[in-house]
């Protein structure tokens, strides 16, 4: 065993691997996008003839395939320091979500951990956390599994926002969250419409009912509802994640190369470690 070199090669020498990963990523994103377009174009005009079993299968298959492809692309190359944060993030999604639930406020806030990881470790880690979180959470609540693609999108966009420096100013974080929420709403609405035929909450159900009463199709009504709820929710989630990231001590946040390299957090300029 002592024959192994003590050091790692200077650069990643596996030339073929990055290209394969890139292809997997593109395939995953394409699967998600194509499924979405297909569902919107081919939404059954005749849901009166029975539940949209066809659309449900397409939605489940397409979105899950996309999520799994993304995971397969990202997971093997994530550093251990990011990987060990994922259980924490997933549990945070759950525990903080429940904590908020006990305050009686009308938000779900179930993506705080995902966004926090994205801020600390980047878009790929954020997307992987979204997918893995959905898979693990489905052990207790299988209805979240179909939303894996949406969760991946949230993590990915949060990571992009962090890289672009939107977490350096407090007023940019909610804006980034708002925009993320718009996209996330568009991606998750077909799932809610075709797989579950509605939303899980009574409050959101009432909003959907109102749009239906005005003559919208089911998908349109749920999409509009999502465009009301999700941006608001994600704006709050991004703000809370930013607050948490700033509450962490500097030595902890600086352990993440992503934070150092892109100067993700304000006022935390790398100190010059002069000898």
């Amino acid at each position: 065993m002592s024959q192994q070199p003590l050091t790692l090669p200077a650069a990643d020498t596996r030339a073929g691997a990055p290209r394969r990963r890139r292809l997997l990523e593109i395939a995953g994103a394409a699967a998600i996008a194509a499924t979405n377009v297909f569902l919107v174009l081919n939404q059954p005009a005749d849901i009166a003839n029975g539940p949209a079993s066809f659309s449900a299968l397409v939605a489940l298959g397409g979105f899950l395939l996309g999520a799994v492809l993304l995971l397969a692309a990202v997971l093997p190359v994530l550093p251990t320091s990011t990987l060990v944060l994922m259980p924490v993030a997933i549990v945070l999604n759950v525990v903080l979500g429940q904590l908020m639930g006990s305050t009686g406020l009308p938000f779900y806030l179930d993506a705080i951990g995902t966004v926090l990881i994205a801020v600390l470790a980047g878009p790929a880690a954020g997307a992987a956390t979204g997918v893995l979180g959905s898979i693990v959470w489905s052990f207790f609540n299988p209805t979240v599994l179909p939303f894996a693609a949406g969760a991946a999108l949230i993590g990915f966009l949060a990571g992009l926002a962090a890289r672009a420096g939107l977490f350096r100013r407090f007023y940019f974080a909610p804006v980034a969250g708002f925009l993320t929420g718009v996209l996330a709403g568009v991606v998750s609405a077909p799932i809610a419409a075709f797989v579950f035929g509605g939303t899980a909450g009574l409050g959101t159900g009432a909003i959907v009912s109102a749009f239906r009463a005005m003559g919208d199709t089911l998908l349109a009504a749920i999409t509009k509802q999502a465009l009301i709820s999700d941006p608001m929710d994600k704006a709050i989630v991004f703000t809370i994640a930013a607050l948490l990231a700033y509450a962490l001590p500097r030595r902890t946040t600086f352990q993440f190369a992503f934070v150092r390299r892109f100067r993700v957090l304000a006022g935390k300029v790398p100190a010059d470690p002069a000898a």
Binding site: L6, T7, L248, P249, R250, P270
Partner: protein, 511 residues
Amino acid sequence: MADGGALVSAASASARIRSFSFHGDAAAALRDIRISFLPGTLTAVLGGSGSGKSTLGKLLAGWLRPGHSGVMRGSLALGAERLDFDGGSGDPRINPAVWSARVGYVPQDAAAIISTVRSNVAEELAFGLENRGVPRPEMIRQVARVAEQTGLSGLTERDPAELSGGELRRLAVACAVIAGPEVLVLDEPMASLDAAGASGLRNLVAGLLDAGTAVVVLSQRADVLARSAGRWIILDGGTAVADGSPADLQEGAALRDAGVVQEGGAAGMPGTLPAPPALPAVLELRGIGFGYGAGTPRGGAGPGPAGDPARAAVLRDLDLTLRAGEIVAITGPNGAGKSTLLRHANGLLRPQTGDVVVAGTNIAGVPAGRIAARVGVLFQQPRDQLFERTVLREVSFGLRRLAGAGAGDRAQEALAAVGLAGAAQAHPAELPSSQQRLLALATVLARRPAVIALDEPTVGLDRPGLERLQHAVTGAAARGAGVVMVTHDLAYARANAHRVLALDGGNLREL
């Protein structure tokens, strides 16, 4: 500085650290350290809290990697191989899986080395072998051998999460040993081990030394294990201030100045304190009975891990009277219910029978957050008690409601009492563990409660920490507060309390 040549080629490992600093830190965590370890020798690295012992240990063992975890200037050597670092991007990158197989590290918190994803001790031991692709028959052989060596043979089917402190420490050592390291670094290996656990660990270390492993012990106490070392290195402020045999260093100023606790020596004044004046009682426990399980009033306190502890009563018809200005210590074996008793003082637990009276008022029905105005409790895990961004904000939290305009002065005064006045703007989480505990104490002192309850206050404190603790406690008592502390450290209890009581069979008796 002379370069090269200084490294002893016969050494298992050596390091020359000109400086090492964490990313984002302005100051170096370690500087000017030269150290090397010969096969089969025991070295003790001694230093107070925050002296850089753990950083050094992790750096030696590849847990902290130059470039990855911080910026390092200097060199690390294993056997004949030497890696030089100058803090630039061209530095070699350590492969932790290979490096750590040759230099093992067992962290202070032994649970941290456990993967948590394996269901029994044997599988946990095999985790490192699985990752290296060791064939299964070979794996079974090695697991059995190391389990035998570390005294875990009878425990291989147990869930690692259910091991006792001593067993967990041995499992952590076994997880490091199974890779066959030439050097093994143990971080505070004796901390919070009972007598049986401590002797088991010492035998294990003796066996490793006989087998030719170089063992390095990091400790802030000059305890039995440290005193059996052939060589001491004393760390202070991230640098080596003394290096030599225990006999030479034992009485030297370096050891004392570094904040190392001398075991065996009295931690405070000899003999018990003179009896305080007989003042009125501030805390009275009258006929307290309490047991976990079906009748627990706090039963709905959340979906904790399943399986209630034994239903047996923990406290039975227990009486305690604490007078103003009095310091009472309560000792007893692990699991006797010391912490349970303490939690009754401020209403975190409610007695099933009997009454708790604080300053003349029965606290039944009063929320714990309100009782806190008169009863302050310091918990074992100071980190759970801290939540603010700076030390000053931490101490000032909620003080204005209590003290009005005097809040600022009180906060400063409490910080000064524990010696943290200079660290007012630091982040609480970045303080060394000893100071975190003192900060938690300051948050209690600032509220000037009538009763101060301390849960194992001495654990993890270095010498200056112990002195500050003692100073703060006697100061509070002189001001008229009643102090009750639970501790397993009988010597400390005897030296620093007016009365020492033993909790035994759910009851208190005078010692």
